[in-house]
Symmetry: C2
Subunit: 331 residues, 2 copies
């Protein structure tokens, strides 16, 4: 028999275990052109909460009484598709099932065996790809420049900072606890960090930590921290709008500093980034990130839970802040 996890009710507010059900079904039979996949690592992510809601969102809602899905690393245990050999590993958007069949379309083949499989859900998955591709397409870091990152201890921010160091930049991170600041400096090689929760004048703190000004600001949060960063940008600065947590879920768009005067005076570039626009660059990005990882130039935080039945619990733990870095479940 095969186990699967379905969405049984839509949460109001915080999700709970009763939203999910672990069911069993016949192990699926393989058709011509298909592969049989056995899940090895399942990713649980905050954004899945949005897909548990009904109604309009710009990501498609999960259907009730049907399996949940997320990024999964799986082994090909049977193949009737000549593109995939038995024993190969893949990552992709897959259902929460122990075993599932697939036509192979859109799956990423895992070629680099020198990195841990779970990395394909984090630093080699969407969060690492977001960091790499946003810097590549918008940031265009040059050696010796100053890179400022908000959400610096997060899955995206920590990779952004490390890429900055690899490229020879001065890297300053912004995060919300002194522990996170210490961590990004010791583990991820940030040159400096600013705890925005204990800092009154963020513009001044950024000026002090970035004495040559800010050339690239990687913004994962928006809001007042963006305003403070903008007061410190250099001519021809690049600002990557990668997240605006501080203004999501508000009914009215909040007010902030008008930025157009600074934009003109500094000839700055500001650009929004969503990683799914850049599928065609995923293979080259995964290759580069994988090489850095194998060479120990990149590190990452990961919290691993074990057992297929514990996927819902691991997902819920994210909202309790029980993870450090990427939360994954090992089968």
């Amino acid at each position: 028999m095969n186990k699967l996890i379905t969405l049984e009710e839509r949460p109001e507010g915080k999700p709970s275990e009763s939203n999910f059900e672990i069911k069993t079904e016949e192990k699926p039979a393989l058709k011509e052109g298909e592969i049989l996949l056995e899940s090895k690592f399942i990713s649980v992510d905050p954004y899945l909460r949005g897909r548990m809601n009904d109604g309009d969102s710009y990501i498609i809602p999960f259907k009730l009484h049907e399996p949940m899905s997320s990024m999964v690393v799986a082994e090909v245990v049977e193949s009737k598709n000549e593109g995939f050999e038995k024993g190969a590993y893949v990552s992709g958007m897959l259902q929460w099932k122990e075993f599932q069949t697939h036509d192979g379309k859109g799956l990423n083949k895992i070629e680099n065996k020198n990195v841990p499989l779970s990395a394909y859900l984090g630093v080699l998955g969407l969060t690492g790809l977001t960091a790499y591709l946003a810097l590549d397409t918008i940031g265009k870091l040059k050696e010796g420049e100053t890179l400022l990152v908000s959400g610096a201890a997060g899955a995206v921010g920590s990779v952004v900072g490390q890429i900055g160091k690899i490229k020879g930049c001065k890297v300053v991170g912004i995060a919300g606890t002194d522990e996170k600041i210490a961590h990004i400096k010791s583990k991820f090689n940030f040159d400096a960090g600013i705890n925005y929760k204990t800092t009154d004048d963020m513009a001044k703190a950024i000026a002090e930590n970035c004495p040559d000004g800010v050339d690239v600001y990687f913004d994962n949060v928006g809001g007042n921290i963006l305003d403070a960063a903008m007061q410190n940008i250099n001519d021809f600065a690049r600002i990557i709008n990668c997240g605006a947590i501080s203004i999501y879920n508000k009914e009215e768009v909040p007010k902030g500093m008008r930025l157009e005067g600074i934009m003109v005076k500094k000839r700055a570039l500001m650009q929004g980034f969503i990683v799914r626009d850049h599928y065609e660059q995923f293979p080259e990005a995964i290759k580069q990130l994988g090489e850095w990882l194998a060479d120990s130039k990149l590190d990452f935080d990961e919290t691993v839970r074990e057992g297929f039945e514990n996927v819902p619990k691991a997902f819920l733990e994210i909202f309790e802040g029980k993870n450090l870095g990427k939360m994954v479940v090992k089968m």
Copy 2:
């Protein structure tokens, strides 16, 4: 004898004729490597007012008791520089003098004889170059897209709109009087216009006039009109920050709608533009604009005053709104 116009006192508020003095000097003698220039058209521009102030500005202040300068079209009447033949015409940042010597560096040689000389101070000068190069480097217009322009009846905006039509775009202009709206449609081929002074809900008016959304917004003003435009942008829109009149000269940076949420969701690009960063592209841009002008694909508004002595008066008239389009003085 040679006439020149100097700055004699710095204005407080509006400038007046008493700020200037018309003086005479010996006609300058030519050294080896120099050319003698006779002014033909002198440009008077609002930005000169800023340079009449002392103290810190990001353009250099004029010196007291020394000649004013601006863009001038001049004829080479004598040459000891093999790069310039007698009888050639040039444009460049020159002093307010009837005759002056010059080493030729930084001067633009006027090659295209099929366009009026005064055009080199407007549509082939900094305003036309601003329109062309900002669209070229940031706007990247594609046929069939919708281009929205604020300050549409101005020297920059009117060229922006006409280039949009040449590129096969739908072009909508924003201006402050019904006469200007009628004018940009009849003379500059804009498809539609919005009078922001008589429109309560600008976001709605833009939506109605741009039913397919806004792909490129050329912003000459900033402020609430920018906010209204941002509510109508398409995915991958480009926003050119070319001016922010609405927020210059304010002591505190005004507040406005936070734009970072829209930037992410639409993966929009916003970039500040100042034409002097793009000197190396001036020749190709002047060539292209000159061809369009010669082919009657570009038109422009111009107000011409006559006589060297009338340069200060023509400059003052700009602040009375007595010009339609570019104000120039013919010698």
